[in-house]
Structure formats: structure tokens, C-alpha cells
Symmetry: C2
Subunit: 233 residues, 2 copies
């Protein structure tokens, strides 16, 4: 009874993510489920009232909630229909072949925090709707535009006016020394293990984050965070 990526719907797990789902993606909500261990409080009441107001079914399904939530203490979840969003012109984050769900969710939350609300993801990639991604994003996913592209060229063709900054370990420009940047920008990051393919590096300005030789590289979510910090300062 666990989540399967072939499903047409997925789940916002926990109170906080469910509230964000109801606030920002109301049209896509299928239903809300709770476990018999739930304790009534102001937040639960708020969820139940929102559902009533918008005619969203609320059902007790204890075992189902537990099977989706796994080991975590979760008593409520919201089911939503998977939906497509198109990214809008402006500053973008572009992730090429991201493969770690926890990282991806953290990156979504970080983007929202730094005000970059349009994220392009180049396939293949993890299932962006997996409950683990939504949960790590703390519901930030529901406030973002996240669009999948088959290739980087597909993305680049539509947003050719954006200046591309390609993050890699041997960039010409050091992030720490950058004082100005072109806008709108696209900050482009490769896969956690393999980075950006060499063939893509020539398509933009190569930037590296200066780091000690004691580590191979920073964690992807960390690299994205410091880049967003620098570019939105």
C-alpha cells in the first residue's frame, strides 16, 4: 500500500505539508486521511475546516497513513493529483539529472527561501512527486514552478535570453570573487556524483565554489544554497 511513482497521485505527509497543499494547490487535492492516533489541536481543526469549506473528503485510514509515513510519527496526510507547472521567465535554478530525493526537497525549500521560484529539471531524474521529496521540501514544492525537460537544449532553446552559470569543480570564475552577475540568470548544477557533462560546460560561464582540497566536493544542496545566497544578495 506504499506510494508507487506510476500512480497519478502523491501525498503531502504531515500537518505542515498538508496545510501548504491546501493553501497553494487546492484544485489538485484529492482527499485528506488521518490516523486514529491523531490528537485534535488548532492545526488539525484548521485542516478539517478548510476541507469542509472546499468539499474535500476527510477519511480515517490509520494503516494507510502509517504505511505512507513509514517510521515517522505522522498522523495526517493529503493526497493530490500530480500536476504540471510551467516555469516563468526570470531567474532560474536548473538541475541536471538530480538523483537524491532528500537533497531535492531541501533544494526546493532553499530556492523558495531565496526567492527563486522557477526550477527546471533535466531528465532523467528522481520522481519529483515522491512523498520523500515533498516532505524534505517542507511543503515548499507547492509554491514553486517545477518543470521537467527532456534535454538541456530543450530548456536552453526556450530560455536563451537567460545568462547560464555552469557550476563545476574547474570553473574559470570563483563564486566567492563574483561581485556582479547578469540577469535573468540560470544557475545550472549537475548530478550529485558526476556533476555536469563536459559537453554542457561550454554553454555558459563556468563557476566554481572555492573549497579546501580536504573534500572532494560540497553536497549538492550545500552548493546550490551558497550559489543562491551569492546571486540573490
Amino acid at each position: 500500500m506504499k506510494y508507487d511513482k506510476k500512480q497519478d497521485s502523491s501525498y503531502a505527509v504531515g500537518m505542515f505539508a498538508t496545510i501548504e497543499l491546501l493553501k497553494y494547490q487546492l484544485d489538485n487535492v484529492v482527499g485528506v486521511y488521518y490516523s486514529d492516533k491523531i490528537k485534535m489541536n488548532a492545526n488539525v481543526q484548521r485542516v478539517f475546516e478548510l476541507c469542509k469549506q472546499h468539499h474535500i473528503p476527510v477519511t480515517e485510514r490509520t494503516k494507510f497513513v502509517e504505511s505512507i509515513a513509514g517510521k515517522e510519527n505522522v498522523f495526517l496526510l493529503g493526497e493530490f493529483k500530480k500536476y504540471q507547472t510551467d516555469i516563468q521567465p526570470g531567474n532560474h535554478l536548473v538541475l541536471v539529472n538530480p538523483s537524491d530525493m532528500g537533497n531535492l526537497g531541501t533544494i526546493f525549500r532553499t530556492c523558495l527561501g531565496f526567492g527563486v521560484k522557477n526550477i527546471a529539471i533535466i531528465k532523467p531524474c528522481v520522481d519529483i512527486f515522491d512523498p520523500k521529496v515533498i516532505r524534505a521540501s517542507q511543503g515548499a514544492f507547492f509554491k514553486l514552478n517545477v518543470q521537467l525537460f527532456d534535454t538541456f537544449d530543450d530548456y536552453n532553446h526556450i530560455f536563451s535570453q537567460n545568462t547560464k552559470y555552469m557550476f563545476c569543480l574547474d570553473g574559470d570564475t570563483i563564486l566567492q570573487n563574483m561581485h556582479t552577475s547578469q540577469r535573468p540568470f540560470s544557475l545550472v548544477f549537475g548530478n550529485e556524483a558526476s556533476g555536469l557533462p563536459n559537453s554542457m560546460l561550454a554553454l555558459g560561464n563556468k563557476v566554481k565554489i572555492k573549497q579546501s582540497s580536504d573534500i572532494d566536493s560540497f553536497n549538492l544542496a550545500v552548493s546550490v544554497a551558497v550559489a543562491l545566497y551569492q546571486f540573490t544578495k
Copy 2:
């Protein structure tokens, strides 16, 4: 047969962490174990040679390796005696009551990448030797000084000459606007959920990371990363 925090020893899980263990904490290595699924390659050979050279026992223990590694594809691990390190004078990261193992490991790796090698941790906190922490640190743990303190006052008493920067959501100073900082510095961060206790905020300069009102707060590992980035630029 899983890891128990009451043990006197813990494990570096996987090839990369085991190599770092052998390189940087040789005196504390107890033994190296491998699974019968291991495939010989240059790295494995290197580990075996290092062990032979330093008279470290290497044993096939397939089930044991699998029970420690959990779901991950890991065929090798190094056991090490838990050890104490004292932090040295200089720039510090101070974590008050960290509770998430993955975050803590990521923070260790980030610190090493930005050249801040001394980390104070104020109890209570997660088990810093848990294999999950070591693994998320990608072996960075073995190159750092990580010291536990019972209270922040204990730390503050010894390192009174460090300028303390207390990270919180209502700081007077905005990180993004900081152009200079006092050295040596201590960057102080609270627990993932509750932040720093109010009683501690007066003990240093209150700093906030400017963020959109769309999120509650950044992930702890993200906050630490951008702070380290700014202070070591």
C-alpha cells in the same frame, strides 16, 4: 547486530569513509570487514595494503557488513575506537543540541570544505559517532576536531576571546549585509526545530539570514553553509 551507541566503537561505512579513516585516524582503527560480494579494484587493494602495512586485521563478515550498512550497497567497513578530540583556538562552528544525523554529517563535510576544522557541540545532541553521521560526512569527520561540551557556558568560558555570532530568525544584523567580521569567530546555531534559546542570544551578536516569508526557516545544514561561506569569503 546493528550499531548501538553504547558501544565503545563505531564504523566508517563504505570504501571512501574507510580510506579516510585509515589515512587520518590510524591509531583508532580496530579492524576492517568486507562482504563476499566485494569486487577487487584499485581502491579495495589500497585498503588491504594499508591494513597489511599497519597490522590491522581484515576479515570477511558478510552478514555483519550488510547489517551495519542497511539498505545501501556497501561491501566494506572500518571499525574504529571512539576517540576524543579537543578543539583548537581559531574560528569555530558551535552547534547547540543538534538532533538530525544526516544534517550533522553534511555540516561536518561543509565545515571541512570551508576550512573551519574545529566544531563545538553542546549537549544534549545526537551520537556524533553514529555510522549515519560518519557516512553523511563522507569521512570528513576523521579530519576534524569535534568536542562535546555539557553547556554553552563551559565552551564560552574556555573560548571567551572568540567573537560569538548567534544565528536566529530575528537578528539585528543581516548576514547578506555583513562586510567585515571579528576574528577569531564562533558561529553559533541552535537546534533544527527550536533554534537557540533566548537566554543565549544576549551572549553574542545576533545575526539573521534574510529569507522570504514563504518559508519558516532554512534547513540547518543550509543555514550553516551560507554562514560559513560568508565568513570565510
